[in-house]
Symmetry: C2
Subunit: 358 residues, 2 copies
Amino acid sequence: MAVGHGARRRQVVRAALLSSITEVARLAGVSIATASRVVSEADYPVSAHTRARVLLAARELDYVPNALARGLLKSQIPVVGVIVHDTTDPYFAEIVRGVEDAAESSGYLVITCSSEREGAREASYVRLLRSMRAAGVIFAGSGMDDEASIEELPRHVAALQGSGAAVVHLSPHALGEPEISVDNQGGLAAMVDALVGLGHRRIAFLAGPHTLYVARERLAGYRRALAAAGINIDERLIVDTGFSAEAGARAVDQLLATGAKPGTDFTAILCANDLLALGTLQRLHELGIDVPDDVSVAGFDDIPVAQMTAPSLSTVRLPLREMGRLGFKAAICALNGEQLVPQVLPTQVVLRDSTRGI
Amino acid sequence: MAVGHGARRRQVVRAALLSSITEVARLAGVSIATASRVVSEADYPVSAHTRARVLLAARELDYVPNALARGLLKSQIPVVGVIVHDTTDPYFAEIVRGVEDAAESSGYLVITCSSEREGAREASYVRLLRSMRAAGVIFAGSGMDDEASIEELPRHVAALQGSGAAVVHLSPHALGEPEISVDNQGGLAAMVDALVGLGHRRIAFLAGPHTLYVARERLAGYRRALAAAGINIDERLIVDTGFSAEAGARAVDQLLATGAKPGTDFTAILCANDLLALGTLQRLHELGIDVPDDVSVAGFDDIPVAQMTAPSLSTVRLPLREMGRLGFKAAICALNGEQLVPQVLPTQVVLRDSTRGI
DNA sequence: CTGAAAGCGCTTACAG
DNA sequence: CTGAAAGCGCTTACAG
């Protein structure tokens, strides 16, 4: 019994170790050129009989082609990398999901790389993707402006593009217009308009990290809409923050520490993303400040949990999955040599229970 | 101006296209063997002068080694795949984050593949990883029992292991004990004990998908703890569900449709994961059933949003990031030929505002 | 329709 | 310390 088991095990391992195209060709009794033509599904004429024997041999040996050898020859491996700022952020999770949906059964493997909002890490991931001769890179998050992003990253991106890889941006960055994006400024302005429509005139803004392009665009939307409504901008109501729930909670404390009173000095808190709004809701709840009776709260992105908070969160819906899907499709188009036309997707204000008129 | 720009651009592209080790060797005036010894950081003696010239040439050409060529030679590429059930599920996002934390500056690239809980997709991702000669595969989710998981998957896993790749499981599955895991049964039993301690005796259970090993283990924990407490198990209070918030909301409707009354027929709803609990909270809120006054609700996993619901969610904390971190470390150990000792991590009951005594 | 041979970019015994 | 050469597994003109 034990012997039999050992022998069987060895056999499996042996098949695994030897299943190169050479083995398949030998077993089928054909040249490796012919074997290659069959297993690589090239549309090259091979007699039905020969084809069948090769296929049988391949199955017999559990043959899986070596993507490295193939990639070395083609100078490209069917892998598309998605660079995100934070895997655990639902904003990026939704985008990645969209990319994966579009990539399903396309033959491309999707690799997600998380920069943790560090330019050096991002650059090193892109370098790795370059060293693997990835077919494409999708930058899901917006550009940063630290040294690595300015020195190293563009070099790798240029090399990638120079060798025929597709590069797609889903957010604004230094190198030009994103191929697929959303009108961050307009979307945020629309939410300000909605709040003004509800009677709010003193709207605090948790602005996100000013090192990020998206955050700066959203801030611009805030300023633009207030100016358009003829409302004076009170700089003390603008808080520079991170992009996390914890940052939102801290920002509330910071805002209150200035002596600003909710309900009078500000009647609404608008957040540059939903995660900030989640932290804001939580901290206000802890402080016994009622939302929306004492103060209204609104977010931006419409991540799935935004419907599940109590009160449910008013926010601006971004078509995140769609962005991911279109991003992947754009990469494939670029790979086919098509010229990409930048596409700006619509946003939509969604008013739920965290905001009310005054 | 335009000409100058064009010329510069061409140069960049040219460097990108030609930067093979052959070019570096030529520019440095050495053999490719010597160039390789320098750039691959092999600890092979090379004179300081030669080394400096090679390094300079490499920098000049923006040389990035071809990982495919190197991988072809070694039959392994420094990539570790993490197979998850769903990228957008915070449970998996946290684990992936842990893996990435541990992999940081290890030289390995982490690839996340999302099976969407379909065995066929999972098998095809593992096949892709196999074709790329990945150094390791970490299965973050538990095994499924559909055909692809029984037929195709084990073949690829055996081949991967046979060729020296590391395979690590973070959850129970058909092939044996997970290398890194958590006591799902004991953890869930502990929460039942806690609820019983609060005076609950009629505890409904949203059980998750019975096709998943983890779900079955958690259900076993439910049964075990109730039996130990001498409480009769009412099968009508056990609802088979998915693992999403929507499934939780539906399950609440299903439970109520049986005619069971909250507060009398059941005083608590225990969920096999936090996402189910989130959906449960939301649906109960919509129905005007108060938590915890009318019914207590508890989850399992302690994903980050569990603290941010209203009321905040009582749950069982799983060391998710730690599991990811240890999973990656285990993969590296296996790669170094070390024998892995299965490790079971502790869980902890966390009581927040969604549960109360009766 | 089939096969022999070159070559993708690298590493590593082997010889000096 | 340095280099010439073989070879990893595949694809693809080229010749038949």
